[in-house]
């Protein structure tokens, strides 16, 4: 499979996929009354862009050695990851109906041995970035041309393991690695800057030897241009700070910390589905 062309047409496709993902994530979480919709919805446009505009993969061969890798470090956002994998064809879409049911393959946090397309097990924060770094280094050692993408939450950046990985990636010039930070400025309990402030995040990554780009994480043109751009002559890993809105797409959820793991009642569900069209 070749990398997607950046055309208006592909943006339409990505928009359609993102809408489908939001609808199905909403239904999964409503049916089970468990989940993390706020973080799902801030990240869904990033995932839709990756899976339908950027990544090289073949769902029939999830272990294909030349596949691009995507690591979902914010493993609680299964509403975004599982709907992306289902939409991409890694498993039948009706599996989404089993979300978190007894012995479901769709665990509350992703497990690579249960579900094709999951690169590593995540859930505890600060794990995906170092693993993605190892995948990228493996590619460098083997002379492979696959690329590795990892998405972390912004609150997740408070975990020290990220900074260990940031230092190693910058120092080793791991140019085939792209870190995407879902910068919705909210964590479970409060705003990030009122908890353990992260700003200036861009300067921090630059100081660690990264190339940093800041974009609107809901704007498909910017996402495609940034995530799909060839590595080219760049000799540094790429950090994409994607400014997003927690709960994006549902009016009463947007930018609300309580929707980190809030679940909709019947009335809220009906209202949300009315908006997600």
């Amino acid at each position: 499979m070749t990398r997607a062309l950046k055309t208006d047409n592909s943006q339409t496709l990505i928009r359609d996929k993102a809408l489908w993902m939001r609808q199905h994530a909403m239904r999964m979480v409503y049916d089970k009354q468990l989940g993390h919709l706020g973080g799902d919805f801030s990240a869904i446009d990033v995932l839709a862009t990756l899976y339908f505009g950027v990544l090289r993969y073949d769902p029939a061969r999830p272990e294909w050695t030349e596949r691009d890798r995507f690591v979902m470090s914010k493993g609680h956002a299964t509403g975004a990851l599982y709907t992306a994998l289902a939409a991409a064809g890694y498993f039948p879409q009706d599996w989404l109906d089993t979300y978190m049911q007894h012995h479901s393959m769709l665990n509350g946090h992703p497990n690579r041995q249960y579900l094709p397309g999951v690169e590593t097990n995540t859930g505890p924060l600060g794990h995906g970035f170092p693993v993605a770094l190892g995948i990228a280094i493996s590619g460098q050692i083997a002379g492979a041309d696959y690329r590795t993408y990892v998405l972390t939450g912004d609150g997740e950046q408070q975990e020290g393991s990220n900074w260990e990985a940031a230092m190693t990636a910058g120092s080793r010039k791991v140019r085939n690695l792209t870190l995407i930070i879902d910068r919705n400025r909210l964590q479970q309990g409060a705003r990030t800057e009122d908890t353990n402030g992260l700003d200036p995040l861009d300067d921090k990554y630059r100081a660690f030897g990264w190339h940093v780009v800041e974009i609107d994480g809901h704007e498909y043109g910017q996402l495609l241009d940034t995530l799909g751009a060839p590595v080219g002559d760049r000799q540094k890993p790429l950090c994409v700070i994607a400014n997003t809105v927690k709960g994006k797409g549902v009016s009463f959820m947007e930018d609300q910390a309580k929707w980190h793991h809030g679940v909709p009642n019947a009335e809220q569900f009906a209202q949300a589905m009315k908006e997600l069209v």
Partner: protein, 320 residues
């Protein structure tokens, strides 16, 4: 009667066997890489780094990252050997070992250097005596503590060929190499070092040599002690433990580790459920004081006389 004899006096640093074996394997298998935390020297990997600079991933003093990176390397098809002081490798990166290696099932080899109380004088922060209990709790990881240079080399070869996570617990204490006829290394299968009928001493790593010495003391008293080298504590050779319980009626476990949760814990769990016999556990009670290995071993009963004494107690408890 099989009786192991110590042949290489005054002893051999197993780290040399580990490093030489890995270099040999890496020469013929390009997938093998090492991941270290500024620990090339302490892991004896200078030669590896010289021969395979591109396959030496030094992440600096960052153990969480080190284990995560190793999981990623496995995802990319490499066979990573993570080598670091076991006190930091296990404690500092425990959640990464749990989530990224054991739970994810990645083909990562964790090699704990200078385990037990090898860093005796440096104090309890640098002792690694809880690692057996921690690693054994993670089912999918094979936990092996080789007892000499030969077994270390065999364990490294096996780990490289085995598809799954492994923890190798190495010491830097100089130990003799045991001489047994037709010796083979089979993970999960205890090695009979000495036959016996009155009591079984089960040891691993550095303590196997002490157990053999204790068996000689007991023999002088007319007590027949079986000695098992339980190099693999997870999965445990439960057949050998059951046979020891049924045939000798009393067991002593000896380990350079916490006296709970590791080898002694595993043996006691098994016997209590299937073949209840007295089990005397020789190990360390908790955070250890500062001291040389020799002095601490002596003080806490990891000695010829200490183990023989535990055996006498176990025998006395039979049928009590």
């Amino acid at each position: 009667m099989a009786v192991a004899q110590a042949t290489t006096a005054p002893g051999f640093d197993c780290r040399k066997a580990w490093a030489e074996t890995l270099e040999q394997l890496a020469a013929s298998d390009e997938r093998i890489v090492v991941v270290v935390n500024d620990s090339v020297g302490s892991s004896n990997l200078g030669g590896f780094q010289t021969k395979f600079p591109d396959r030496t991933v030094n992440v600096g003093i960052a153990e969480q990252n080190m284990v995560g990176v190793a999981a990623g390397l496995a995802n990319g098809g490499r066979i990573p050997f993570v080598s670091a002081a076991s006190c930091f490798l296990t404690a500092r990166a425990m959640e990464q070992i749990k989530a990224d290696v054991a739970y994810a099932g990645f083909n990562v080899k964790l090699v704990g250097q200078s385990s037990g109380i090898a860093y005796g004088e440096l104090g309890a922060t640098h002792h690694s005596i809880e690692d057996f209990a921690w690693l054994r709790a993670l089912g999918p990881i094979t936990v092996i503590a080789p007892c000499d240079a030969w077994e270390t080399a065999e364990a490294v070869k096996w780990a490289a060929a085995h598809d799954g996570p492994v923890y190798l617990r190495l010491s830097r204490m100089k130990v003799p190499t045991l001489d047994l006829p037709d010796r083979t290394f089979t993970p999960g299968q205890a090695e009979l070092q000495r036959s016996g009928t009155d009591v079984t001493i089960i040891a691993n790593g550095t303590t196997v040599h002490l157990a053999l010495e204790a068996a000689k003391t007991l023999a002088e008293e007319g007590v027949s002690a079986r000695v098992l080298n339980m190099h693999t504590i997870s999965p445990l050779d439960t057949d050998a433990v059951s046979a020891a319980a049924l045939e000798t009626g009393a067991i002593v476990t000896v380990e350079e580790a916490l006296d709970r949760g590791g080898l002694g814990g595993a043996v006691a769990e098994h016997t209590s459920a299937t073949d209840p016999v007295p089990v005397q556990r020789v190990g360390f009670p908790g955070f250890m004081p500062t001291g040389s290995i020799a002095n601490l071993f002596e003080e806490f009963g990891l000695s010829r006389e200490g183990i023989a004494s535990a055996a006498r107690i176990a025998i006395r408890r039979k049928g009590a």
